[in-house]
């Protein structure tokens, strides 16, 4: 068993579901309840140090139950290893916790996944359309969405009051680094 999988299986026996290392990609399946605990561990533990959230997406396996599967790809830049984490989701409960508070990169990826698959990300600060437009019906990447389906025309919308800047990024000027005074030699 690859080292990271063994580590997760040992430390999170309640979350662990399954694992494989097909084609050399280390993969762990976990349960949804308590997932943030594991992600926090992956980010902070000195044996994992997954500082980059490379990719986040979902897969729809339609006739199968559980129908959806969340797929996360992580990469550690100091330790040079990768990990894939998967979370199976039932159609009746298609929601996961947002990992945006842990990796800011997940923000847009989760918005895309939400609009394409209809998976709800609980705790996401700004869940709104990214690639789709307001008034689009259905979730295009679900398997039961017909590729040739036509969308209804949407009415003109006023430009004003469309924007919500959310939490405004504040730039605070850092104080100049203090130079220690050198004794004249």
């Amino acid at each position: 068993m690859p080292p990271l999988t063994a580590l997760i299986k040992k430390d999170f026996p309640k979350l662990y579901l399954d694992s494989h290392a097909q084609h050399g990609d280390e993969t762990v399946s976990i349960k949804r309840a308590g997932m943030l605990e594991l992600f926090l561990f992956l980010k902070d533990d000195p044996r994992c140090k997954f500082d980059m959230m490379i990719d986040l997406t979902a897969v729809d396996y339609l006739p199968r139950s559980p129908r959806f599967e969340m797929v996360y790809h992580f990469k550690s830049s100091p330790l040079h290893h990768r990990l894939r984490v998967k979370i199976p989701l039932e159609e009746s409960a298609c929601q996961v916790d947002s990992i945006e508070p842990l990796w800011v990169a997940a923000d847009w990826y989760e918005r895309e996944c939400w609009e394409m698959y209809g998976i709800d990300f609980q705790g996401h600060p700004n869940l709104k359309f990214l690639l789709r437009y307001e008034g689009f019906q259905g979730h295009p990447l679900r398997k039961d969405y017909d590729k040739l389906l036509m969308q209804p025309l949407v009415p003109m919308r006023p430009v004003a009051e469309r924007h919500d800047y959310g939490e405004v990024f504040q730039y605070v000027q850092e104080p100049p680094p203090s130079v220690p005074e050198q004794e004249p030699s």
Partner: protein, 400 residues
């Protein structure tokens, strides 16, 4: 080193003004809309809106065979299409567990590096033009044209290349190709030097680029930046070295890194990377081994025409590949290559049929565009242009 950013306050002294930049604005390169709230001339808040070029690549891919997807990958990053071709083919080869002949690997490396140069030439040329150095743009586009003629010689098209196949390439490198490429590389290398002489010590250029759009190393990692932008922030992260895929482990090259992570560093990193790419191409041309350009595994290889028309096995193989597509065993694979912009990853899920259950592209641009407000806030509104230029947003890849 002082940043040119100004601290902003949410309670403006003057009346705030909201301006819309884009969607169709020359500085947005593709189609992106920025809505900026200005405090005087300083950007205080900003929102990015994308989605004007979404073509449903993933949905289309789920309804196509593995071979039919290759031309769609050209349209992802359309200034370096060959790298996408290579990345996608590698992902499928991983599913099949197919070996690629060494000659094909070297040819892929050569063409990927040619594509990387065309990508960086476009980005640096356009950035230089937008801050006033029109000549550099014209020179760089001229150099890009030299290389696109090389690409045309090999693939038959300048941009929509569709060159790699599962298990190799569509064709071998043509006769006289190496001499042509050697001569073109000399020309490109001259153009790079010329362009650098024009801008790198130019006060206007430095004023516009230096200390603009800084994103620290820590933030860049949190945003999962890859490619030139992460290297400009000071992290020597290059997949050609990290994963040493294909035959990159046999090549001798350096990874340029920046110190501050501003637009000027990004320009320099790209400039140096092109020189390294030229060196990689020369090494690969020297080492180019003889051999086949394609793995003739009958699961993926179109049989020779003589066999198709001459015997029943050949005909059936051909029919199966055309009508049903090659069928990889069930499983999943993620393969990433160092694209012009960073990590281009392909995540494929197969259920054993001829069409993928899922074909996901990990777009490097998405992370950059996501971070544009954070890089811009506190700068003058005119600085949006070099900041956005330096991230090299490619609409096709961003929105897929």
């Amino acid at each position: 080193m002082s940043s040119k950013r100004r601290p902003t306050t949410p309670d403006f002294s003057a009346q705030p003004m909201t301006i819309e930049i884009g969607p169709a604005h020359p500085a947005t390169h593709g189609i992106v809309r920025f809505t900026a709230q200005l405090d005087g001339e300083v950007v205080a808040a900003m929102e990015t809106e994308i989605g004007y070029l979404h073509r449903g690549f993933e949905k289309e891919a789920e309804n196509s065979t593995y071979i039919q997807i290759i031309p769609y990958t050209d349209r992802l990053n359309y200034v370096s299409p060959l790298i996408n071709n290579v990345g996608y083919s590698m992902a499928v080869e991983k599913l099949f567990d197919i070996e690629v002949p060494r000659r094909a690997e070297f040819a892929r490396v050569i063409m990927s590096e040619v594509s990387r140069i065309t990508d960086h030439l476009t980005c640096n040329g356009a950035t230089a033009m937008e801050v006033g150095a029109m000549t550099v743009f014209l020179y760089f586009i001229k150099a890009r044209e030299y290389l696109w003629e090389v690409v045309e010689e090999v693939t038959g098209a300048r941009l929509t290349t569709n060159w790699t196949r599962i298990g190799g390439n569509a064709n071998d490198l043509p006769d006289g190709f190496l001499e042509m490429l050697r001569e073109r590389l000399l020309k490109v290398s001259d153009v790079l030097d010329e362009g650098e002489k024009l801008v790198l010590k130019n006060k206007i250029f430095i004023d516009r680029m230096k200390d603009v759009g800084i994103l620290s190393k820590e933030r860049a990692l949190e945003y999962a930046f890859t490619g030139p932008l992460l290297r400009a922030a000071g992290v020597p992260y290059d997949l050609r070295r990290e994963d040493s895929y294909s035959v990159y482990d046999e090549m001798d090259f350096e990874i340029p890194v920046g110190t501050v992570g501003d637009c000027y560093d990004r320009f320099l990193v790209r400039q140096e990377e092109m020189k390294q790419s030229i060196s990689i191409i020369r090494q690969a041309m020297d080492k180019l081994p003889p051999g086949d350009f394609m793995n003739r595994d009958r699961r993926v290889f179109y049989p020779d025409k003589a066999k198709v028309y001459g015997n029943i096995e050949g005909l059936i193989d051909h029919f199966k590949i055309v009508m049903e597509g090659p069928k990889p065993p069930p499983g999943e694979s993620y393969t990433a290559v160092e694209g012009g912009n960073g990590e281009v990853g392909f995540y494929l899920v197969s259920d054993g049929s001829g069409k993928p259950v899922k074909c996901r592209v990990r777009p490097p641009c998405l992370n950059y565009v996501q971070a544009v407000p954070e890089m811009t806030i506190g700068h003058y509104v005119a600085d949006i242009v070099p900041i956005f230029g330096s991230i090299n947003m490619i609409g096709g890849e961003l929105e897929r």
